[in-house]
């Protein structure tokens, strides 16, 4: 038995391979091959030198879906709506977040107006039919789709979350008459209300579906060709996996496939280290991503917006996505001066090609990685395990631009770039913690990604967390996370009901329906028995008149009562919003079911102590400029040689092939039995 995970990132394709028999974990990296992503996977497998025959489980995460959308490489898509509402996709929400821009442009809809069609039908908010559907209206639409060579169709009718019958009829009618053209009905993706958001979600699903179909078919052929005959899974955005087959029908659920694995891995670290509260930071080549894990649970929302920024409303996608704050500051982010002469870092990145100047591949812009290198944090001969020899002259030449602007030396400029990058990351970390009412002193900071360990100790100190934890193989954190991720699907049903009209019987029957769906899903897709499932129930409630709601989690339905749920709601509302309204009527809004399947995942084995000692790990010393802590001589250690239980004091540099951990003066590192570094 062996398992293989592949995480395709913007720059690298990461591989993690686990042999159940020996307990050995193999990690490897190859360059991502944007034109044919399968090749990057094959390259990584080749580099790793692993035996693929007999791999019983393959799991995969990547950027196919998000790239197809952001690069507008999807297919020609049509949208069919309720009569009177074809423009909803273009009207969107009408908001203008870029307040002073009198030339504000809305995001362009993914379906142009001439491919948006209307059908006579109407369902009311309670699911009752107000006007029956006129299927004959579809004939002309189908003819137009044929004439226009439409490649995918989305259908969204008002209130289909309450009663999907009309969407089902229309979808069946169109599928029969447009063979080979994938059709997405909005209720198949989400049963939550809000017509624009659901329409956009259905449209994006349709828009990428043919591409994802082709991609998975190619990948599957390649894997089967290598003798991988086990089950094929894919990482979704909700921190769980699903099968290739299901993903092909619901590709939009893969939109944040890669990042969600890292967050899930951080949740596992929370369990392994008995630190239930984690702030997770992943620093990659182009961005840094933060997420919060409270009481061991990742946060999943359906409020995700693609391409959102402070000035862009983005495209809402109502599928469960791990709650992540992302900023445009990563290792490859370029330092520059704005119009007023202020030093900024990112969001423009040197990317994989040409990469930071110090990679010596033609990059001329000063990046965060160049700055780290010039301060002495990186060993030019041991970057990426020695695979990339860092070019000091090129880095200095690039950083000179910043030195000239600031009127200082190149080394001082490098320190300045790191300070600005760290400040950006601190603000993002505070956004997910302090600004959402969490006290960092109750949390540990877990860092991942190639860049995480380089910044983690400094950020952890400024944030005031209990400790900063550097897991093993931080540069492969997402790929490793995929190996340990279980199948998961989130179900939701909007059923607006006042508390006075709600009974526990109705609540049970609503959840029973969702559980039935979950059982059918796992049976069909994973071949799993109901005994393998775990369920988490949740209800969204709000005070009458409110727009926002609070999710009240329910560990079990046993002994639940409407009164008990309401009491929990009042308490949860007070926690989240600092007040409760005892005398105001309450509404039940959405019913949520998270279904997870228990499958065997590889255990992380304790460090093999053989041949490890603090002494053998000590490689010498290096001068490093740590900004406020000054330019000092730091001890350099090889992480692979550090034994469990070792303790060492900063300043120190701990090197491994995929990353470098910086420890500041006054900080102490301990190596735990699993090999995690804990910095305090």
């Amino acid at each position: 038995m062996a398992r293989l995970a592949c995480d395709i990132g913007g720059t690298f394709t990461d591989l993690a391979f686990f042999d159940d028999a020996s307990g050995a974990l193999v990690v490897e990296k190859s360059l991502t091959t944007p034109r044919d992503l399968t090749r990057g996977i094959e390259d990584a497998i080749g580099l790793a030198g692993i035996k693929t025959a007999g791999i019983s489980y393959f799991v995969h995460g990547g950027t196919t879906v998000i790239n197809a959308i952001t690069e507008r490489k999807g297919v020609k898509t049509a949208l069919i709506t309720t009569k009177g509402f074809r423009d909803v996709l273009e009207i969107a929400r009408g908001n203008r977040p870029d307040l002073y821009n009198l030339r504000f442009e809305k995001p362009t809809p993914f379906v142009p107006r001439y491919l948006r069609f209307e059908v006579r039908e109407r369902i009311g908010p309670n699911g009752a039919t107000i006007e029956p559907i006129v299927l004959a209206d579809l004939d002309a639409i189908i003819a137009r789709c044929k004439a226009e060579k439409v490649e995918a169709v989305a259908i969204q009718f008002l209130h289909s979350y309450a009663a999907p019958a009309h969407e089902q009829e229309a979808a069946a009618y169109v599928r029969e008459r447009l063979p080979g053209v994938p059709v997405t009905a909005s209720h198949e993706i989400t049963r939550e209300w809000r017509e624009y958001e659901r329409a956009n979600t259905a449209v994006l699903n349709a828009y990428v579906q043919p591409i994802v179909l082709r991609y998975f078919d190619t990948l599957e052929r390649s894997l089967r060709g290598r003798g991988i005959d086990g089950s094929l899974a894919v990482m979704q955005s909700n921190g769980g996996t699903t099968s290739f087959a299901w993903a092909k029908e619901h590709p939009i659920t893969l939109v944040e496939s890669g990042p969600s694995a890292g967050v899930n891995a951080a949740a596992l670290i929370a369990r392994l280290t008995s630190e239930p509260n984690v702030i997770y930071l992943d620093i990659g080549g182009t961005t840094a991503k933060c997420s919060l894990i409270e009481d061991g649970h990742i946060k999943v929302t359906t409020e995700y917006k693609l391409e959102w920024s402070r000035t862009n409303p983005g495209y809402p996608v109502k599928v469960p996505v791990v709650d992540i704050v992302e900023i445009g500051t990563g290792g490859g982010s370029i330092a520059w001066f704005d119009r007023s002469g202020a030093l900024k870092v990112g969001p423009v990145s040197a990317g994989a090609e040409p990469g930071p100047a110090c990679y010596g591949r033609g990059g001329t812009e000063p990046t965060v990685t160049d700055a780290k290198f010039l301060t002495g944090a990186l060993d030019p001969d041991y970057f990426a395990g020695g695979r990339i020899k860092l070019d000091r002259v090129a880095a200095q030449k690039a950083m000179q631009k910043i030195a000239d602007g600031l009127g200082c030396s190149v080394e001082e400029a490098a320190v300045a770039v790191i300070r600005v990058a760290d400040a950006d990351m601190i603000n993002a970390l505070k956004l997910v913690s302090i600004q959402r009412g969490h006290d960092p002193r109750d949390f540990v900071l877990v860092v991942g990604g190639g860049g995480g360990p380089m910044h983690g100790a400094a950020l952890g100190r400024e944030l005031g967390v209990r400790a900063t934890i550097v897991p093993r193989y931080p540069g492969y954190f997402s790929a490793w996370g995929m190996l340990v991720t279980e199948p998961r699907r989130d179900f939701v049903q909007t059923a607006l009901t006042r508390a006075g009209d709600m009974t526990i019987g109705r609540i049970r029957s609503l959840f029973d329906e969702l559980v039935k769906e979950a059982e059918a899903y796992f049976r069909a897709d994973e071949g799993l028995k109901p005994t393998d499932h775990r369920y988490v129930f949740g209800i969204d409630l709000r005070y009458l008149g409110q727009e926002h709601w609070v999710t009240v989690p329910m560990p079990t339905l046993e002994g639940a009562s409407v009164e008990g749920i309401l009491a929990d709601f009042h308490a949860a509302h007070e926690r989240a919003f600092s007040f409760k309204l005892d005398d105001t009527p309450v509404e039940f809004v959405n019913f949520r079911l998270t279904a997870m399947a228990t499958i065997a995942t590889p255990a992380l084995t304790p460090l093999d102590e053989a041949g490890r000692s603090l002494k053998s790990a000590h490689k010498g010393t290096r001068k490093v400029d740590l900004g406020d802590d000054g330019r000092i001589e730091a001890a350099v250690y090889a992480r692979d040689e550090l034994p469990a239980g070792a303790t060492l004091d900063g300043p120190a540099i701990i090197e491994e092939a995929s990353s470098t951990t910086i420890v500041h003066p006054g900080q102490r590192v301990t190596v735990d039995k699993l090999g995690f570094l804990r910095i305090r």
Partner: protein, 578 residues
């Protein structure tokens, strides 16, 4: 200028402090929105938070909408005038007086002086729209108010906290004068939490970096913005530029109200002079001076740097003048409840005057009016009364680079969302029959055309129904730029029992079950000569149903069939015809 290494470190420290200040005002906003009970605050984002230095200059601000762009300084100045001598640590002041720098009575500002080590170092301010402050109608914005007394309680910079404790007598005064006291006091507490967060965060910043470095950062923020701002003004040709416009009624009468501006640019100075605008009106369309400042500064900011964070440095080159007693500088006891319609007109005047000078920063005229409409009645299922309040999205003007944006919220609002049809139908006895782009009304033709407005048609399903509305730009059309065509008008269409009426400002109208009320917004103005619009773009508009073949022929001189097929020969002949 050569700088040494230490100077470089300081420059970076200043940027880091600036980042922390911006994060602080963001956090104030998050705290305020989270603790508020009012959808106007947490949905419409009708609030703003800021930090001002000890001299009362705005250093950082966060806005959800543009209406508070210039009010903070004025409000703080009036507080300092009243209480400067007795102000001490632990005080918090409350003001909502339009005649002391505010907007309308619903917008309540809380100001907290921040002391570090016994020294006054800064002020934190939070302003938010309370759902209700009393007065003649629920919601305190009476469409036909004649005096401010009908618009609720005024708080003339009262000390609402002493020694950081809420003054119970003021709390009781609020409780007894407003219709929704729980909500009002909840919002008071939310704003208090916001200014207290600022106090805490600023104390941390002063402790970490020292007073000198923070002061240096404050000056740097103001001076670097001022420098950019002056450079932007200097780049514009010196001269005097005028614009005039009409306000279509004040809520009491439909009499059109003339307004005008003269923009004078001399070197790096710019003056907006609204002299000549009509006298203040009996109805609530009036603005007081603070609102006028906001509306002019909003457009000025759009001119000099729309995305950079706002502070008073940007506005140092600006002088705004207008004699007292006009519709833009109303004096007590003028009502100002609908000031946001008046200030939208002031913004558009400045915009219209400046647009030809800096076409790369502006667009042609927009639908402009929020078209705020109240639909209400009794829910037949529950017997409860309801009121649904909606601003409407509409068409924006074209620019020198592209077509105008369709169905977008007006300048006065910002990150404000329209209401989901599905949510609304589940909540109220209303059925939306149509939510569509208003292609029938059309948009300004041009090399780039205006964006389209929207049609939102409601069927009233309840009993005892009513609506009231305040719709501007119902007579005067959005203006075009560079020979672009005019846009189209906003209106409300009420259909009942076979009759059909178009209205714009209506204090109260009873309606029957089954009546249709459609809020229709106009298209924006066009940019450039329509005859120069590429034929393919016109054909694409026809294929998309934005234009009819007839309109394509009339406005653009393009002969195209309904499916977008171009008759090149006929088009060439028509376009050559001059």
């Amino acid at each position: 200028m050569a700088k040494n290494g230490a100077g470089a470190a300081e420059a970076v420290t200043r940027e880091i402090i600036r980042g922390k200040l911006l994060a602080t005002v963001d956090e104030m906003g998050i705290v305020l929105a989270r603790a508020s009970m009012s959808p106007v605050i947490y949905e419409v984002l009708d609030f703003a938070c800021g930090i001002l230095d000890a001299d009362g200059q705005l250093i950082v601000q966060t806005n959800g909408i543009t209406l508070f762009t210039g009010t903070f300084g004025e409000q703080l100045a009036s507080i300092r005038k009243r209480h400067g001598a007795t102000m001490k640590d632990g005080d918090v002041f409350m003001t909502n007086d339009p005649f002391e720098g505010g907007t309308h009575t619903c917008d309540i500002a809380l100001i907290k002086p921040i002391y570090v080590g016994g020294r006054l170092e800064a002020y934190a301010i939070a302003v938010a729209h309370w759902v209700e402050v009393g007065g003649s109608v629920a919601g305190s914005i009476s469409p036909d108010a004649r005096e401010i007394y009908q618009e609720g309680v005024r708080f003339p910079g009262v000390r609402v906290c002493r020694d950081d404790k809420l003054q119970q007598d003021i709390v009781e005064l609020i409780r007894i004068n407003v219709r929704l006291p729980t909500m009002a006091l909840g919002d008071l507490n939310a704003e208090l939490a916001a200014v207290r967060i600022a106090d805490m965060r600023l104390k941390e910043v002063f402790a970490k970096y020292g007073a000198n470095v923070v002061h240096d950062t404050f000056s740097h923020i103001l001076e670097s913005s001022e420098k950019l701002s002056r450079a932007a003004v200097k780049a514009l040709p010196d001269g005097r530029y005028r614009a005039e416009d009409w306000i279509d009624g004040d809520g009491i009468t439909d009499e059109r109200i003339k307004v005008c501006v003269e923009v004078a640019i001399a070197g790096d100075q710019i003056t907006f002079d609204f002299t000549g605008s009509s006298a203040q009106r009996p109805g609530p369309i009036n603005c007081a001076y603070g609102a006028l400042l906001s509306s002019a500064k909003t457009i000025f900011k759009a001119l000099v740097d729309p995305q950079a964070p706002s502070n008073d440095g940007w506005f140092r080159p600006v002088t705004i003048t207008c004699p007292p007693g006009t519709v833009f500088t109303a004096r007590p006891p003028a009502p100002t409840g609908w000031y946001y319609e008046g200030s939208a007109q002031a913004s558009e005047l400045v915009w219209k005057a400046l647009a030809p000078l800096a076409p790369e920063r502006f667009s042609a005229g927009s639908y402009m009016s929020l078209c705020g409409t109240y639909l209400g009645g009794r829910n037949p299922a529950t017997g409860e009364m309801f009121v649904h309040i909606e601003p409407a999205v509409g068409g924006w003007g074209a620019t020198d680079a592209r077509d105008g944006t369709s169905a977008l919220i007006a300048t006065t609002d910002g990150d404000t969302y329209n209401y989901s049809v599905e949510l609304m139908e589940a909540k109220y006895p209303l059925r939306v029959r149509r939510y569509a782009l208003n292609t029938e009304g059309g948009a300004g033709a041009g090399r780039h055309r205006g964006g389209y407005g929207a049609i939102r048609e409601f069927e009233m399903l309840g009993d005892d129904g009513f609506f009231y509305t305040g719709i501007g730009r119902s007579i005067e059309k959005p203006w075009g730029l560079n020979n672009g065509g005019e846009g189209s008008n906003n209106y409300l269409e009420w259909r009942s029992n076979g009759t059909r009426q178009r209205v714009s400002r209506v204090p109260y109208q009873a309606v029957r079950k089954g009546d249709r009320v459609a809020v229709v917004t106009g298209g924006g103005g066009g940019f450039g000569d329509p005859k120069t619009r590429p034929i393919e773009e016109v054909a694409a508009d026809v294929r998309d149903g934005y234009l009819t073949p007839d309109q394509a022929r009339q406005a653009y001189r393009v002969v195209v069939s309904a499916d977008g097929a171009i008759d090149q020969r006929a088009t060439a002949a028509l376009r050559a015809g001059g």
